[in-house]
């Protein structure tokens, strides 16, 4: 009997700590600044526990009955806390409010647990044993939880399911308490019925947890999904592993926060630094604001127009603290104008001229996207280039999709421009290619903005050298009425993924 009681203590202590860790981890994943998140959450949580303990003195009757209910409530609130927070993050502006509210509710309930339990069992043992044992097992439970959480739970279960699992333990404690304290309880059958309902709900939650993050394709992502959303236009997924945040659009990797600086520095600086006095810049695609971050390193640039299809995407990268931490709040700059529109019709109807144009679209995986890689499109874009202007095109990998890369280069050439293909190594992508194009001969720049981590004056000419395994291939251009690129791209990637 005794040992069972103390195992109960161990379990409820573990549950309490897990909920706190889940909240802290989630907050630092989604909001960034983990020191701030963890300290405020632990502070709130401990404070709420204090309130719980203080409140316990107002409970004088039906201690066991109330204990069972507290366990059940904890099971529900704690168990679903993580899922609720994910949903709040994806669908509402009230994430932080909900998070602190949940932490406080859980803290108060956990604060009530131990005092009540000690009072329930104080007649069975000497008081000093009760205190010693209960606190020992309480701390043991906390130790277990704090070790399990990073080693087993986060990597294998993820945050949503870890919380649910411990919710189940809380509800389990409630159920078995109806036997342990049977003599102090009336109508145990009804209580047990409630316990079973809560257990059933949590077990369903555990099994269906994937649906909550909306990522039925969970297993295609290596890391934990911290955000998933079907917008009108695409499926946006963010994953996180330690410091590495990755963005996937329709399951295609767009960047990894560890090495995106290589990609974006290479996308922007070889072109933009080569223009004498760039004032107006256009970005087509690039709704993550990372290219804009690089462009804003040029004080001469007076305006940046960004055209991206998906308003949810640009909103996310404007308002979410974790993501604005990556793009340095580039969308909030007064120089930046975000336009949510389909690029091709926009380019056709707009008449502005730009000194530098960045074309950063998803790869040509289908005929719809393929339209944005055609001679017709590049001709339409070229009409927006100022006399000395340059444009740069993300052009897939010259290594893994060599045919596709040189097809894009040929297409730009046939649209009537001089081309300068170059490439860069981005660890999470592999060897990646770009094409710079304009109406004049291009020379690599001799100075760059300060503070770049990858692109530098000395090594830049090397980016324009292609070793034999990526060397130019003779390819037909991609045209609206003859989209050879989509076939080539399909074939290129099939060849390497068998």
């Amino acid at each position: 009997m005794g040992i069972l009681l103390f195992i109960t203590v161990l379990l409820i202590a573990a549950c309490g700590l897990i909920y706190e860790l889940v909240a802290g981890t989630l907050a630092s994943y989604l909001l960034g600044d983990s020191v701030l998140q963890f300290s405020t959450i632990i502070g709130c949580y401990l404070f709420a526990m204090g309130i719980g303990s203080a409140l316990s003195r107002y409970i004088d009757r039906g201690l066991a009955y109330r204990f069972v209910w507290i366990e059940l409530l904890l099971g529900v609130v704690g168990g679903f806390s993580s899922a609720l927070l994910f949903l709040a993050f994806a669908y509402s502006q009230g994430f932080q409010f909900l998070m602190y509210a949940l932490v406080i509710v859980i803290g108060v309930l956990v604060g009530l647990e131990i005092p009540l339990l000690m009072r329930i069992i104080r007649d069975r043992y000497h008081f000093r044993d009760v205190v010693a044992h209960v606190l020992t097992f309480d701390y043991l439970g906390a130790l277990g939880a704090s070790l399990l959480f990073p080693i087993l739970l986060v990597p294998h279960l993820g945050l949503v399911r870890s919380a649910m699992l411990f919710g189940i333990l809380n509800a389990g404690v409630a159920l078995w308490s109806t036997w342990i304290f049977a003599n102090q309880l009336a109508r145990t059958a009804v209580l047990r019925g409630f316990c079973l309902v809560v257990l059933a709900a949590l077990c369903t939650g555990l099994v269906e947890a994937k649906r909550i993050t909306q990522a039925a394709e969970d297993n295609i992502y290596a890391d934990e999904i911290i955000f998933a959303r079907d917008t009108h236009y695409q499926h946006i997924v963010l994953t996180r592993f330690k410091d590495d945040i990755r963005l996937f659009l329709n399951s295609h990797l767009q960047f990894s926060s560890r090495d995106e600086y290589r990609y974006h520095e290479a996308l922007i600086h070889p072109g933009l630094s080569a223009i004498a006095a760039p004032r107006r810049v256009l970005v087509l695609g690039g709704g993550d604001g990372l290219a804009v971050r690089e462009i804003l390193k040029y004080p001469q640039v007076e305006s940046v127009t960004l055209v991206d299809l998906d308003p949810e995407m640009t909103r996310l990268f404007t308002t979410n603290p974790m993501l604005t931490g990556l793009n340095h709040q580039s969308f909030l700059s007064p120089k930046v104008h975000v336009i949510n529109a389909d690029a091709f019709p926009w380019v056709e109807s707009n008449t502005d001229s730009f000194d530098f144009i960045v074309i950063d679209f998803p790869d040509p995986t289908n005929y719809s996207l393929g339209k944005l890689y055609t001679t017709a499109f590049y001709k339409a874009v070229a009409r927006h280039l100022s006399e000395q202007g340059l444009m740069v095109v993300q052009s897939t990998s010259p290594m893994f999709a060599r045919d596709s890369y040189w097809c894009i280069a040929e297409t730009i050439k046939q649209a009537g421009m001089l081309i300068n293909p170059y490439h860069v190594y981005v660890p999470s992508f592999g060897e990646w290619g770009f094409v710079l194009a304009g109406h004049h001969e291009y020379r690599t720049p001799t100075s760059l903005p300060p503070g770049l981590r990858f692109v530098n004056v000395k090594d830049m000419p090397a980016l324009f050298q292609f070793p034999p395994d990526m060397a130019p291939m003779s390819m037909p251009p991609n045209r609206l009425n003859d989209q050879v690129l989509v076939h080539l791209y399909d074939q290129d990637w099939k060849d390497i993924s068998h």
Binding site: Y367, K371, L480, N481
Partner: protein
């Protein structure tokens, strides 16, 4: 029980652009109000289809301004009419022009004028985007309409032999677009047998090959293999050598060309004016339409030729002009049906269906994202006697035809009823000339096609079959003929 198993979205719609009621007034020689004013004008064009509009374009381009075009409907365009809703513009009938070959000089000139052909290059935005066509067969889609899967060795052999035959005909240069350029009596014997018989003679009996050829004849002529002359069947294949992956097409189909033409000559076009009488008077002609009587030196008659005997005083009834009845539908889709692994194409055809499938009006959009669209569904009522099909076409109500179309689509898109919110139908009893055996070479047709006198026939049906290039060619040459003879002082 009164309980519907699944609530099905309501589909709105009705018959639109009905013009046969007006045609029947002519046929029944109804009484028309007398004219109360006279307008003297050197050239009157009757009919604002492609032929009439092209005649006007040619007159205008030569600097000639003393003409009017009288069109029966409220909207010009005839078989190249188009419509528009909040999603897109869409065609009502003609929806493409094959990339014109070198011999179609007038069509090339037109497209240069419209900016479609620049420095010998076709503007990509007007060429049909990839992927162009697909065929649903054996429960799946394939790219392209010519069946490519499930062929036996002998099927392939027959396709190859036909290809060789066509190549030989092409080499004779007798099959051209427009047909007048190359037409020669030497190929007249091909007009004496049906395409079906010609195929049998050449031991081409493959079911798949015949399905395909039958589809082509239904699509271009509204006629089956047996209803099409061998000459016309061969003309379909031997007259073209595309220099570019096409065809030319626009969201509103050839309605795009109509709009560009109207931008140029719209001020000379009077719509809602049905010509009901044309009479020779002295050296000129009197044309009656609405409240006016036009006194013209030349009339370019670009309305369907079969109507002419009802309008032109003293004209003998025609014996060799046959027309195919057609039904077209425009379906508004509030969401796209599931695609089952195939990229949506411009044209989608179903094997062994009596219909011709559908064309997607938003295919030519430059947008990358489309979630609503309009499909134009085509149905040539070819099988069986045309008169009987015409009666059937007119007797079925909107609900009947709507369901018939949905049944056909459902084979391929099981969720189609959940997608469609509106379906408008257009019935055309005499939609297009049919090149039956003997039609192309008939003396009656050849004589009307020869421009003489002051009444110049220009409708595409004079070619024996109706396509854009024939209509444009006949309009242009009729205009040139009139221009050359109309008194010089009126030029400019």
């Amino acid at each position: 029980m009164g309980l519907a198993a699944k609530s099905e979205p309501q589909i709105a719609g009705g018959f639109v652009n009905e013009s046969f009621t007006q045609g029947h007034l002519l046929r029944d020689r109804a009484a028309f109000a007398a004219a109360n004013r006279v307008e003297k004008i050197p050239i009157v064009i009757v009919g604002g289809g492609i032929a009439g509009l092209s005649a006007a374009w040619r007159l205008h381009k030569s600097g000639f301004r003393d003409f009017v075009l009288l069109e029966m409907c409220d909207q010009a365009g005839g078989n190249s009419r188009w419509g528009e809703n909040e999603i897109t513009r869409y065609p009502w009938a003609a929806h493409y022009v094959p990339v014109p070959g070198r011999k179609a000089i007038y069509v090339r000139e037109l497209f240069e004028d419209l900016g479609v052909l620049k420095d010998g290059k076709w503007d990509e935005r007007y060429l049909c985007f990839t992927p162009q066509e697909r065929l649903f067969l054996y429960g799946r889609w394939q790219e392209g309409i010519e069946p490519a899967i499930g062929l036996t060795r002998s099927d392939r052999d027959e396709f190859r032999r036909l290809e060789e035959q066509i190549g030989a005909f092409r080499a004779t240069s007798r099959f051209t677009v427009p047909m007048e350029v190359g037409f020669s009596q030497e190929s007249a014997n091909l007009d004496r047998i049906s395409f079906a018989d010609w195929l049998s003679e050449h031991r081409m009996n493959s079911r798949v090959l015949r399905w395909y050829l039958n589809y082509c004849c239904r699509d271009d002529y509204g006629a089956t293999l047996d209803q099409t002359s061998a000459w016309a069947g061969i003309q379909y294949f031997a007259s073209r050598e595309p220099e570019e992956k096409g065809p030319l097409t626009w969201p509103e189909g050839n309605g795009w060309i109509v709009q560009r033409l109207m931008e140029r000559i719209g001020s000379f076009v009077r719509t809602g004016r049905m010509v009901h009488r044309i009479v020779q008077s002295g050296s000129g002609l009197k044309v009656y339409a609405g409240d006016a009587e036009y006194h013209a030196d030349f009339v370019i008659y670009a309305a369907p030729t079969f109507l002419a005997p009802y309008l032109v005083e003293g004209m003998m009834p025609l014996k060799t002009f046959e027309y195919s009845p057609w039904l077209t539908a425009n379906l508004t889709l509030d969401r796209l049906p599931k695609n089952y692994g195939s990229d949506p194409t411009w044209d989608s055809v179903f094997m062994d269906s009596p219909t011709l499938g559908y064309v997607d009006a938003t295919h030519q959009t430059l947008r990358t994202h489309v979630d609503r669209t309009v499909w134009t569904f085509y149905w040539a009522l070819a099988e069986g006697p045309a008169s009987q099909n015409r009666r059937m076409l007119l007797s079925g109500n909107w609900g009947y035809w709507k369901d018939a179309i949905l049944h056909d689509l459902e084979r391929v898109h099981p969720d189609i009823r959940q997608c469609v919110s509106r379906m408008d139908l257009m019935r055309m009893g005499h939609a297009m000339a049919r090149p039956s055996v003997g039609a192309v070479t008939s003396p009656e047709r050849r004589s009307l096609a020869k421009l003489h006198g002051n009444l110049l026939f220009a409708n595409s049906d004079l070619s024996g079959f109706s396509i854009f290039e024939e209509a444009q060619y006949r309009g242009v040459v009729a205009a040139e003929h009139a221009l050359a003879r109309v008194s010089g002082s009126k030029r400019g």
